[in-house]
């Protein structure tokens, strides 16, 4: 019976990864598609490839953080992870239909925290880990914004005397392939590992793996496959919000936004900090808009995005706690 429940919850975790794919992974290709550097189909394949090879570059630090530093391992059970995933998936679907680029990562963390609190109270939360995650909810987009602003100013300063506008534009369009690849690498390093972390926690809690076990390779492969399939399936509502509603992006802006976001994701992945790839690329895009003039950023849209961020962890937590409560009735 436990094996069947374990299989069901692992399948649900992969389902979450799939939803994460069409909700979050689209961000990595939003600027490439909106500047028409790549067709959506090729952009998806490009992103999926770099998502996958990220495992070989960055290891599994983020997965270990999710498994160990969100809630006390002793409280994790199949029912708790099930409720956490249901809460996170429900929140992701609601924000997806509203076209809001919220973070699947924070929905997952909120879901785990909410279900754990419903099960055993606030004492089981790992406050140190949660505090680091909360601080980087704010610092990650701010760092993405500052880095893309500075990059944009440097690039504009170095090319502003050039009269060859068309060749320059072509050059930046080609460079976007590199920056989108780098961003997808960072995205894979940080985002695809979160579901791995949940499955790792589940396998440790059920005794399938030892306490300090590494992520099994089959988990890595299946998580990457699920997120890539999700990316192939949807996410265009959010691509539209990210690529055109927030501010108009040109190839040079795409290069700067993606490079800045990629650098931020490389740094946080190396540190094992689960940040939102959505937040980071949004910061990068706003930085590009602000380098032209502050009015180039559509602050009404940005404000909606910020409110969705603020409510993600508590929203997913409440849904996961309710799911855990319902589960206890059966």
């Amino acid at each position: 019976m436990q094996t069947l429940a374990l299989v069901v919850v692992v399948a649900l975790a992969l389902g979450f990864d799939f939803v994460n794919g069409f909700h979050d992974a689209a961000n990595s290709i939003a600027t490439v598609v909106s500047t028409r550097v790549l067709s959506p189909r090729f952009a998806v394949a490009w992103a999926a490839f770099f998502n996958f090879i990220a495992f070989f570059v960055f290891g599994t630090h983020v997965a270990n953080t999710i498994a160990n530093d969100v809630v006390d391992q002793s409280v994790i059970s199949i029912g708790l992870i099930f409720a956490a995933l249901v809460g996170a998936i429900a929140w992701n679907l609601i924000t997806f239909f509203l076209g809001l680029p919220t973070s699947s990562s924070h929905a997952l963390i909120g879901g785990m925290a909410g279900a754990a609190v419903a099960k055993a109270g606030f004492g089981v939360l790992v406050w140190e880990g949660l505090r680091t995650i909360a601080v980087f909810i704010v610092l990650a987009p701010l760092a993405g914004l500052a880095a893309s602003f500075v990059l944009m100013v440097i690039v504009m300063w170095s090319v502003h005397r050039s009269k060859k506008v068309e060749p320059l534009n072509r050059g930046f369009r080609r460079m976007q392939l590199v920056s989108a690849g780098a961003y997808s690498l960072g995205h894979g390093a940080n985002d695809a590992q979160k579901t791995m972390g949940v499955i790792l926690a589940l396998l440790i809690a059920t005794g399938e793996l030892g306490k300090n076990a590494e992520v099994p390779f089959w988990v890595v492969l299946s998580c990457h496959a699920a997120i890539a399939l999700g990316t192939l399936t949807g996410g265009w509502r959010i691509v539209k919000t990210m690529g055109s509603k927030l501010t108009r992006i040109k190839p040079v802006g795409g290069v700067c936004a993606e490079s800045a976001a990629a650098a931020m994701l490389f740094f946080t992945s190396a540190q094992g900090i689960p940040v939102s790839t959505t937040h980071t690329i949004t910061g990068g895009i706003v930085g590009v808009g602000a380098s032209q003039r502050l009015a180039a950023v559509r602050w009404g849209v940005a404000q909606r995005v910020v409110w969705a961020w603020v409510f993600t962890i508590p929203g997913a937590a409440v849904m996961a706690a309710a799911s855990y409560g319902i589960l206890q009735l059966f």
Partner: protein, 58 residues
């Protein structure tokens, strides 16, 4: 002061407020980010001022 400089000042303030909450080994990151935003705020204010002083182009 222009709105962009104010925005950067606000961002620097947020980074400084978050510094004590950041894990000790990563505090330098919040501090450096606050410093970058302060420089950007000053540069943006100067840029705005120099634009206002320029005579209108004919």
């Amino acid at each position: 002061m222009d709105r962009r400089a104010l925005f950067f000042l606000g961002a620097a303030f947020v980074c400084l407020v978050l510094t004590p909450l950041t894990p000790t080994d990563l505090r330098w990151f919040a501090l450096v980010l606050a410093g970058v935003y302060l420089v950007l705020a000053a540069a943006s204010a100067l840029d705005n001022r120099s634009r206002r002083r320029q005579p209108p182009r004919r």
